[in-house]
């Protein structure tokens, strides 16, 4: 086993292009590292984050420059961790920001928007943002193989992007994963590795493989770059609102990274003068009750987490020991937001409410977001006039099984007009 501090590096970087990154910086002790495939500070084991040259960015980035860019997340390339022009995942991002009047009316909110990543490209979840960034950066760093451990959206996105990039791809899954979820990855022809063990065993194995093999493990050694893709959710929101920051956002929490990066995205736009500073922005978190370590810590006033064994239908949020949970709590506290948790029936009700009011079929994570948004509104914590954005991160076609038994059966009739008129449409 290698010393993880000497994490595999396949080759030196190519020529510099955009080059607006200064280095990687430890979030805990502030030590600076080269822009390599590393994710942890050698000294204090704190997580590393990309450090940008904001002064240089400020000289070239403007609203006009962004508006001239492609209709994808790459219009914000100067605030993303790439050195060369992107070549993969060119259509990710710039998903609709839907004015949700009917859902708003149901919740007593007059100024509600849905950021709709159910239609993100190519695999219908927000993971296409982070993976598009990760794969481009991995190629810049010389990697030929990408990998991840995932039971759903992340595996879909890594497999699809790797296929289009012509890269080798390894996806690690627990051996008892449902067949349907495996098929959704196999179509892209990655090597799917079924690990005979529980979720803890898969975590442990992937950590070891990440340290041993010269692969771009997107949420391990490439994590500092990968996570930056989530900022584009905030960039797009601000631009689509007419260069404004909302008053309230509701964000689902799995690892906690999305929530912290949405906050970072708004902060970056603000500090670069692209939007007015908005000290009242409140960042609210949404978790499923069956996997709610952040909610539990928040409710108890703790900054420490107790890891949990997930038991929820919201599988895409089922992260028992969230890597960025501490930082998510910090953002929620700083912004005077809150965390809510939704039970499984509340999650399904949230999915149904979103579908029947806005015509958006979200996966279970979207049900969590809507259910928690509803709770915030009912408590009066989100006021009717607050400009509010709820983040819907994946498509409902991916979690159809969660709805089994919850929805009414079709109305059965005989194949004649009399039966239709008697049962469906009596005059």
């Amino acid at each position: 086993m290698n010393n993880p501090s000497a994490s595999p590096q396949p080759s030196p970087e190519g020529k510099k292009g955009l080059s607006l990154m200064k280095g990687l910086k430890c979030r805990e002790c502030g030590r600076i590292y080269d822009l390599a495939a590393i994710h942890v500070c050698d000294f204090c084991f704190g997580p590393l984050e990309v450090d940008y040259d904001y002064e240089a960015i400020g000289k070239i980035l403007s609203r006009g420059e962004i508006e001239k860019g492609p209709n994808s997340l790459w219009r914000y390339k100067y605030l993303l961790p790439i050195k060369e022009e992107p070549t993969i995942g060119l259509h990710a991002g710039m998903t609709p920001l839907v004015r949700a009047d009917r859902l708003g009316k149901a919740l007593g909110l007059k100024n509600l928007y849905i950021k709709n990543d159910t239609v993100n490209h190519p695999t219908l979840s927000f993971k296409d943002r982070v993976v598009a960034v990760a794969i481009n950066r991995a190629r810049e760093l010389g990697f030929r193989t990408v990998a991840c451990a995932s039971t759903g959206n992340l595996a879909n996105s890594v497999s699809a992007h790797a296929a289009s990039a012509g890269m080798d791809c390894y996806v690690f899954i627990p051996h008892d994963l449902e067949a349907g979820k495996v098929l959704g990855n196999l179509i892209y022809r990655p090597t799917v590795v079924s690990v005979k063990g529980n979720y803890d065993d898969v975590n442990r194995l992937c950590s070891e493989i990440g340290a041993e093999y010269p692969w771009a493990f997107v949420n391990i050694n490439i994590r500092p770059y990968y996570a930056e893709g989530s900022k584009t959710m905030a960039f797009e929101t601000a631009e689509q609102l007419g260069w404004r920051v909302p008053d309230q956002v509701v964000v689902p929490i799995a690892s906690g990274s999305l929530l912290t990066k949405i906050w970072k995205g708004f902060q970056e736009f603000s500090s670069l003068g692209l939007v007015k500073r908005h000290p009242e922005l409140r960042v609210n978190g949404a978790q499923a009750e069956g996997c709610s370590p952040v909610y539990q810590a928040f409710a108890a006033g703790r900054t420490q987490f107790i890891p949990v064994k997930p038991k929820t239908i919201a599988k895409s949020l089922a992260i028992g020991n969230p890597a960025d949970g501490y930082y998510a709590l910090d953002v929620i506290g700083k912004s005077r937001g809150q965390v809510e948790a939704a039970s499984d029936p509340e999650i399904v009700n949230g999915m149904v409410l979103l579908a029947e009011t806005e015509g958006i079929f979200a996966e279970t994570a979207g049900g969590v977001t809507v259910a928690c948004l509803k709770k915030r509104a009912e408590k009066g914590a989100i006021r009717p006039d607050d400009l509010t954005v709820a983040y819907i991160t994946g498509n409902g076609l991916k979690t159809m099984e969660a709805l089994t038994g919850y929805l009414p059966e079709p109305v059965g009739i005989d194949p004649n007009l009399a039966s239709f008129q008697k049962i469906v449409h009596p005059s």
Partner: protein
Amino acid sequence: MTKLRFHMTFPEERVKEPILYEISQKFRVIPNIRRADVSDRSGWVELEMEGELKEIERAVQYLRQRGIHVDPLEKTILEG
């Protein structure tokens, strides 16, 4: 020799026990604490453990039996 990195979460009933000392005595491993936050109610420790892989695995097994939650340093890697 192998070096592996772990994030360990201690429940309240184990916070006062010298468990890391115990594993260094019971198994041929060297725990090296790099970051920690321990209170009277709970605590976490991030450390590197050095030794033969089998000895590290035995130490981890022992910690889990004592109610310590042991994850890789990256915590949950397996995502939805």
